[in-house]
Symmetry: C2
Subunit: 319 residues, 2 copies
């Protein structure tokens, strides 16, 4: 057996003794025949490898209430709200990711083949990272959004590859920029056989986990070099507040018609209506974008945090 496997094995055993059995590291050390710092290292490894899954089994009423309100008001199938941690340096994406992982895992556990689409962004990526390894060769994952930046480099926040690696499933990546350089380039891309093949897989997906991007100076779309500064300025000037898969939305959730829109390569949002789109996004700064996406009625599920949930409810006058 692989040396690393043996370590992991022992790490799992140590973790079991520590977390489930509640024994001290000294006891575990005696048990496994290693030194106490050895146990420490094993536990650190177990945590790092994501072997340890903690689940807090209580509907934190505040979050429950917020979730219920959002579900009712925006006609969602589900809405999970996680508690916020104001001074978390890694802006709470982790919390949303853990909750997202729960939902995602529920789909993955299915034995029938599943086609699942993924958006892009840090939150989606973090969610995928939190998923545990499992063997699901029957599933297929497909990206809903191009993962090539303007300079040709691939997106660091691609979730499809990571998820497919973890589950030994099929992967379908969209080899295109989110926003093409010109209308003609977009046309050319869309006519490629390969591109169409992937788009048709995407159309077959039952469910999609996507991010929600705010449109501002910190916009992921801009930071990650999918659009340039003048394009960002254009979006801002026509009052875009957020984007889904690259499609800019106004405050009411309508897709804005502007020069950028005509060059977006992602599948049309309308065409994704048959699938269950689940948005993963948290933080006050994403509030306006989330509200917009909800108002547009694009989402069937939402996983967010207290801060964003409160923003949305405070600013959503009942239509």
């Amino acid at each position: 057996m692989d040396k690393f496997e043996v370590k992991l094995d022992q790490a799992a055993r140590a973790a079991w003794l520590s977390y489930v059995g509640g024994r001290t590291q000294d006891e575990i050390a005696a048990q496994l025949g290693v030194s106490r710092p050895g146990v420490q290292r094993l536990l650190a490894l177990a945590r790092q490898e994501g072997l340890i899954k903690v689940h807090i089994d209580h509907p934190i009423s505040n979050c429950m209430t917020l979730g219920q309100a959002l579900r009712d008001q925006f006609d969602l199938e589900f809405c999970d709200v996680v508690p916020v941690d104001p001074d978390a340096e890694h802006n709470s994406a982790h919390y949303v990711a853990v909750a997202g992982c729960d939902r995602l895992t529920r789909y993955l556990e299915r034995t029938e083949p599943l086609t699942l689409s993924l958006g892009s962004g840090r939150t989606v990526r973090a969610t995928v990272e939190a998923v545990s390894r499992m063997d699901r060769p029957q599933h297929r994952f497909v990206s809903l959004v191009g993962n090539v930046a303007r300079d040709g480099s691939s997106n660091r926040y691609d979730g499809v590859t990571a998820l497919a690696d973890k589950t030994a499933s099929g992967r379908f990546l969209l080899p295109a920029p989110v926003v093409a350089g010109s209308v003609e380039e977009r046309e050319a891309l869309l006519n490629q056989r390969l591109f169409q093949a992937i788009a048709s897989v995407a159309a077959e997906a039952e469910v999609g986990f996507i991010g929600v991007g705010p449109i501002n100076r910190q916009a992921t779309l801009f930071q990650d070099d999918f659009i340039n500064e003048s394009e960002l300025d254009e979006l801002l000037s026509c009052r875009a507040v957020g984007e889904l898969l690259g499609w800019p939305l106004d405050a009411q959730g309508r897709i804005i018609d502007c020069s950028v829109t005509r060059r977006v390569t992602s599948p049309a949002l309308e065409s994704l209506a048959p699938q269950r789109l689940v948005a993963l996004a948290g933080g006050t700064d994403k509030g306006p974008a989330i509200l917009s996406a909800l108002r547009g009625g694009w989402l069937k599920g939402l996983i967010t945090d207290e801060a964003a949930a409160r923003y949305v409810l405070d600013n959503a006058v009942r239509r």
Copy 2:
């Protein structure tokens, strides 16, 4: 809102910050506006109330191997083997219980109505204890084994009540001793309308979680005053090695015909064949009993620990 609910709420929040967020108690204290020992108390409460569920996400290869072997050899649908902890004072029942809870929860999560039967014993009880509260009014739980001791007292290890309480489901308890005082008494019990009603619910169960009892001086059946000493002696003298629902089994898993057998009030094991019987039992001392139950082919699933699994595999010559 209830004062206790508020506490629990805050406890859940503290637990979230601590376990999922990985923050220190000092940080959590600042966050929630309580003192550090206050956080300590909240976390203790959360643990005590079973709000925190830890799951080690790694097929500990050793256990995996044992489980696979048992599954293959005895034609089981599944077999979970948990690692053993030799110097755990509470004889490893807790470990088996956690694993059992996982399986049990999978059934409970179903939305369609489920009828589930339960055996008796410490392990079954501990498994039920580990289940988290959920609302499942559509389910029904029924006991497969009488829960009245010879002195008329009710069994401390009854799982049906505990599980029904946790899930707000229907409960059906068998108001009878496991072993009746005489053949006539048994006859009288079986003819009661109430008894028959419960037995018919039991017959409808899809799945049953039961314990496996060893037959020796430490036998639960004896310790808990379901049978008296002379009955125990009789069972020992006709080579009983274990019991399922009170039915004594020989080393080959056949039901032994003796005076005790003719007074057992539980449903006949044969009649339970349509349902999925899952045994929960661990520890070397239960090894012979588990082996017997497996040989008899009574089980569809087994949740046990390394020690028992190894005993069974070491002593089971391939038939």
